[in-house]
């Protein structure tokens, strides 16, 4: 019998969904708006996060060595730096590579190139680029080099300068923006989702309010609470499923447009590619959210009118 009841509940829910045309349509539209807000927030979070990660990746500490510095000492220093817990990675650029980079950057500057050519030795020293695990850790890495006791006098003498201090203000500013950006994005997401849930909940409540007379009649003819409530929950579930499919389709042209016209603006983030490659994740999140909100709000709203 439970299986028969379930089958009847699903069938009745489907029939009600189809027959309550206008009410179902308006509920699906509101739910679609809710899920669109959610999708928009997810995409915004992706853009924000990727942008922040890009900014983080562009920040590093560069240790410039004096020309002719002893390479085994530099490599020993690199090993010590790699051992620091704050350090994510290091990249050693040799004097030779640094000179090649310099020449490439100034290829059109003949005066500078000619000046280089007349010199007997390479005037450009090597450098060690250090990336921290977290942007807030650059200062402590920089302090490591200021601590001559750690490096020893021999090692300290090979360092020309560390450019963190020069960029300290910028790094601190970026660090502040990153923290606030993440908090603001999260807060915005919560507010938008909460608003959407409230709007959807009230729309479903309104839809069930129109059926309150029918609910009382069902109770009077001897229907149990579950028998009355079940089809409404199925209807709410269907609102969620249909709205999910609509939202997924709607976001195809939207992300396509963003991908085509806004990729440069978003510093290389192609929203269309991201959306297509993550469409199953979007499907799961939207279905869970849509069905959850639809079914729960139907359940709660119908319950209110069951007290007959």
């Amino acid at each position: 019998m439970p299986m028969v009841n379930f089958k009847r509940t699903v069938r009745t829910g489907f029939l009600n969904f189809m027959r309550n045309g206008i009410v179902s349509l308006s509920s699906v539209i509101v739910m679609t708006i809710t899920l669109s807000v959610l999708s928009g927030v997810l995409l915004f979070q992706h853009v924000l996060e990727t942008t922040l990660v890009n900014i983080e990746n562009n920040v590093d500490v560069a240790v410039y060595f004096v020309p002719g510095a002893d390479e085994p000492t530099i490599l020993s220093l690199q090993t010590q730096v790699n051992a620091l817990p704050e350090v994510a990675s290091t990249d050693y650029v040799t004097e030779k590579d640094a000179l090649a980079d310099f020449r490439a950057r100034h290829a059109n500057d003949t005066t500078t190139i000619q000046a280089l050519d007349v010199l007997d030795q390479n005037p450009i020293g090597g450098l060690l680029e250090i990336k921290a695990k977290d942007i807030s850790q650059y200062e402590s890495i920089s302090n490591f080099f200021a601590d001559t006791g750690t490096l020893g006098t021999g090692t300290a003498s090979i360092i020309d300068h560390v450019d963190y201090n020069k960029n300290k203000a910028e790094i601190d500013t970026i660090n502040g923006i990153l923290k606030k950006g993440r908090s603001l994005g999260f807060l915005l997401m919560l507010v938008l989702i909460a608003l959407s849930v409230v709007v959807t909940f009230n729309t479903v409540r309104l839809a069930i309010y129109f059926a309150r007379e029918e609910i009382s009649v069902m109770r009077l003819v001897g229907a149990s609470r579950g028998h009355v409530q079940g089809p409404f929950v199925i209807e709410g579930t269907l609102y969620g499923i249909v709205a999910t499919l609509l939202t997924l389709v709607i976001f195809l042209p939207i992300t396509y447009w963003f991908g085509k016209h806004m990729t440069d603006f978003f510093q290389g983030i192609n929203l269309f590619t991201y959306y297509l490659t993550h469409i199953y994740e979007f499907l799961i999140v939207l279905v869970v959210f849509g069905v959850g909100v639809g079914a729960l709000s139907s359940f709660l709203a119908a319950r209110k009118y069951l007290r007959v």
Partner: protein, 226 residues
């Protein structure tokens, strides 16, 4: 079968709908409850169905105090009572067939039982050809016949008909009364509220007269007298 013991029903602002009601209705009876609008007829019905609870006194259905029933027991009680209302109270987004099958599903009948009984009862009230019609596509008389079909489908012990002919023309009124009499002849208790003199007189059975919330007359072979 149904017993009112010193029942009083008071609504807010000191409006007394029923007062000092003590009466019993036996199995198989056809009882007409008459009185002017506002006399308390519908309140009496709502008390039997436990839609309302009395301010004082108790209402019994057999040995059950209807206002002390748990949710599941109340659902089971209502399955033993068929209801017909003046405004039909049909399910607007279900067809005639589905309105009746819903009541059967609610009482746990199998698909086979539903498939066998629903056409039969639709035929009984002359609506077999309109089985796929929605209530909005039926006339007043047809709606009331459908409501009666729904009320009797689970073979209840009692049928409560609250002003069932209030919205009907004389021909449909006559048809509905004949159907109710036929159901009563088969052993089902009928409780009918009405203020239609012709209906009450044509039935010629027990009449309880209410006035301002009190029973002023209870005649075994009564006529409409107010």
């Amino acid at each position: 079968m149904i017993y009112f013991n010193s029942v009083k029903k008071e609504y807010p602002k000191d409006t007394v709908a029923l007062e000092d009601i003590t009466l019993s209705i036996n199995a198989g009876e056809f009882v007409s409850i008459v009185g002017h609008s506002g006399a308390g007829k519908t309140t009496l019905i709502k008390l039997i169905l436990a839609e309302e609870s009395p301010s004082e006194g108790t209402v019994f259905f057999e040995s059950l105090d209807v206002n002390r029933l748990k949710n599941r027991q109340l659902t089971e009680l209502r399955r033993r009572i068929g209801t017909v209302f003046q405004d039909f109270k049909l399910l607007g987004n279900k067809t005639a067939y589905e309105n009746i099958s819903f009541a059967m599903e609610a009482s746990g009948k199998t698909d086979e039982e539903i498939a066998a009984d629903v056409p039969h009862v639709l035929d009984l009230v002359g609506l077999l050809e309109k089985r796929e019609h929605f209530p909005g596509q039926l006339s007043g008389g047809e709606k009331q016949r459908l409501a009666i079909a729904r009320a009797i489908i689970n073979q209840p012990e009692v049928i409560i008909a609250d002003e069932p002919t209030g919205n009907l023309d004389p021909i449909n009124t006559y048809e509905i009364v004949q159907i109710l009499k036929k159901i009563n002849d088969l052993g089902t208790t009928i409780i009918l509220t009405t203020h239609n003199r012709g209906v009450v007189d044509s039935i010629g059975k027990r009449v309880i007269t209410l006035e301002k919330g009190k029973v002023i007359r209870d005649d075994k072979d009564g006529r409409y007298m107010i």
